[in-house]
């Protein structure tokens, strides 16, 4: 078995007196693609930020998060950059820069070619563009490329397909599958996209309890009902199983 790249022991997250995550014991290894699911405000972003080491420490209780067996707070910033990359929900650009320049600045450890990454994300044509002029979806794909070229094995992606059209959602899912020497933790809402992209699922329930397991065993109508509070039906068709909320 691969050693865990990231691990939490009894991690608890609290916000405004509400427990978002209750005593989470969890680990992820290279080759795994975890999707975090939960309702709006369930704490997906807070959890990803805590896992990335940029969470609000005041919200964090209980056990530490560790990367490669070392507690996150003990990592110097420069070393941490070589271990984890984090995609925030939205980039906030204020200064002009070409996409190419952005990618150059994002390299911490050479691992992925910028050109190949842009090609895989249908972003080659964006290379010479000014980031201030990109659409939301384009900027998000560039941000994904930035995370990849950083060269860290652990990628924490907060809603990487929130602004993508269906074709690009599919393209991002395919690209994520090629990142086999990484551990991925992704938050997303589209159950059918998750069924395609994830190997594992971590579900945040409204009371803060967490359930985890392989994507195949985690995605069932009963659990989805408890996570989202609405009924689900699996429709079997030529293209495989499709989940429909009711």
């Amino acid at each position: 078995m691969n050693p865990p790249l990231i691990e939490t022991r009894a991690l608890t997250l609290v916000a405004a007196g509400r427990v978002l995550v209750r005593s989470l014991d969890w680990r992820a290894a290279i080759g795994e693609r975890w999707c975090v699911i939960g309702r709006n405000a369930a704490g997906k972003s807070s959890l990803l930020r805590a896992l990335a080491g940029v969470g609000d420490a005041a919200l964090q209780r209980g056990g530490p998060v560790s990367w490669l067996g070392r507690v996150v707070a003990d990592w110097p910033a420069a070393d941490a950059a070589a271990v984890r990359a984090f995609l925030p929900q939205q980039a906030s650009d204020r200064f002009p820069a070409t996409v190419q320049r952005l990618l150059e600045l994002s390299v911490v450890q050479p691992r992925h070619e910028a050109a190949a990454t842009l090609a895989a994300l249908d972003a080659v044509a964006l290379g010479g563009r000014n980031v201030l002029e990109l659409s939301g979806g384009e900027r998000q794909r560039v941000a994904l490329a930035q995370c990849a070229v950083q060269g860290a094995p652990l990628l924490l992606l907060d809603e990487p397909v929130a602004f993508q059209d269906p074709a690009h959602q599919l393209q991002v899912a395919r690209w994520l599958e090629t990142l086999r020497d990484h551990a991925l933790v992704i938050s997303a809402h589209d159950v059918n996209w998750i069924a395609r992209a994830a190997t594992h699922v971590l579900a945040l329930l409204p009371d803060g309890h967490c359930e985890q397991g392989s994507a195949a065993e985690m995605l069932d109508a009963d659990r989805l009902q408890r996570v989202y509070g609405c009924d689900w039906r699996a429709v079997e068709g030529d293209a495989g199983r499709v989940w429909v909320a009711q």
């Binding site: 420069a78 906030s92 204020r94 200064f95 600045l105 563009r129 000014n130």
Partner: protein
């Protein structure tokens, strides 16, 4: 289109040429015509002071823009120059070296601004208008303090209100030290150019890429404040050079700090020498305060960039 030309060498060549042309014209033109002795003893020191002060102000603006992550930041608009003026006036009253007072006042004003802007800086949303307004109020307070200090001390040694409130090069001194300081600040910015470029992506983005954000910000604060302080000690509170020069360069496609770090001081030197040339030629033999000329150029540019949404 900004960003389509990442290595604008033609621009660098044009800027250096223009600055050299302005330098030559500034030395040759004047009410007394061509007189070698006059050029050496009067015009050269003044032109050198204009170049040094212009370079320092452009660098101060560049550092403040990175520190506050706001392309509209300028030491005059955000009160740093005002703080330097108050510090210098207090130093003169208490018999301390004026440059120390100006540097301390600029540092205090800069630190106060960062403190006021702390929440705006932490938030990822675009808090530019709030930041600019806080700075403008700081500038108003320091302007009022400088006026009060000038009114309360009718000392013949003190230079007039025009010098401290809008800046004036007619009696500028310390030309040598401003030029040396400009070179030192340029080297300091060049040594950190990649870290500064990453900081422009956002403090969290820079931290995630492994940059020591706190230390970098502190260094930028010291750099921006000292540069503004020295400029004010030499020529009073001249505004908008720090805004106009880096913004114009960005608009022309220069994006990297490794290029801005030397192009901005060259451009700042050229711009202020040109403004000084205008201010002493337009109504010759009467000399207009160069700060007023700069404000007439700079304020409309500021409004233009503000209307474009801070880009």
């Amino acid at each position: 289109m900004p960003g389509s030309n990442p290595r604008p060498t033609w621009l660098a060549a044009a800027l250096v040429t223009a600055t050299l042309v302005v330098l030559t014209l500034s030395l040759l033109l004047g009410s007394a015509g061509l007189d070698i002795e006059l050029i050496r003893s009067l015009r050269a020191p003044r032109v050198a002071a204009a170049a040094g002060v212009g370079a320092l102000l452009a660098q101060s603006g560049l550092a403040m823009q990175a520190l506050l992550r706001n392309p509209l930041a300028d030491p005059y608009v955000l009160g740093t120059s005002g703080g330097a003026a108050v510090g210098a006036l207090l130093a003169l009253m208490f018999g301390v070296a004026m440059a120390f007072g100006a540097a301390a006042g600029a540092l205090a004003a800069g630190a106060l601004l960062v403190l006021l802007a702390r929440r705006a800086l932490a938030a990822s949303d675009d808090a530019s208008p709030r930041l600019i307004l806080s700075g403008a109020m700081l500038a108003a307070v320091f302007g009022a303090l400088a006026t009060l200090l000038l009114t309360l001390t009718p000392d013949q040694q003190l230079r007039g209100a025009i010098f401290w409130l809008v800046g004036d090069l007619s009696g500028a001194d310390h030309a040598g030290s401003t030029l040396i300081a400009a070179v030192l600040f340029m080297l300091a910015l060049l040594a950190r150019h990649r870290a500064i470029d990453r900081l422009l992506l956002g403090s969290e983005a820079a931290h995630l890429l492994g940059e020591p954000v706190r230390r970098l910000r502190l260094e930028l604060l010291v750099c921006a404040s000292l540069a503004a302080g020295l400029a004010v000690a030499s020529a009073g509170a001249i505004g908008f050079v720090g805004l106009v020069v880096p913004q114009a360069l960005r608009l022309a496609g220069v994006q990297r700090t490794c290029e801005l770090a030397w192009l901005a001081p060259v451009g700042g030197a050229g711009l202020l020498m040109a403004a000084d040339l205008v201010s002493r030629s337009v109504a010759s033999p009467v000399e207009l305060p160069v700060g007023a000329v700069m404000a007439l150029i700079g304020a409309p540019v500021f409004i233009f960039f503000l209307a474009r949404g801070g880009r």
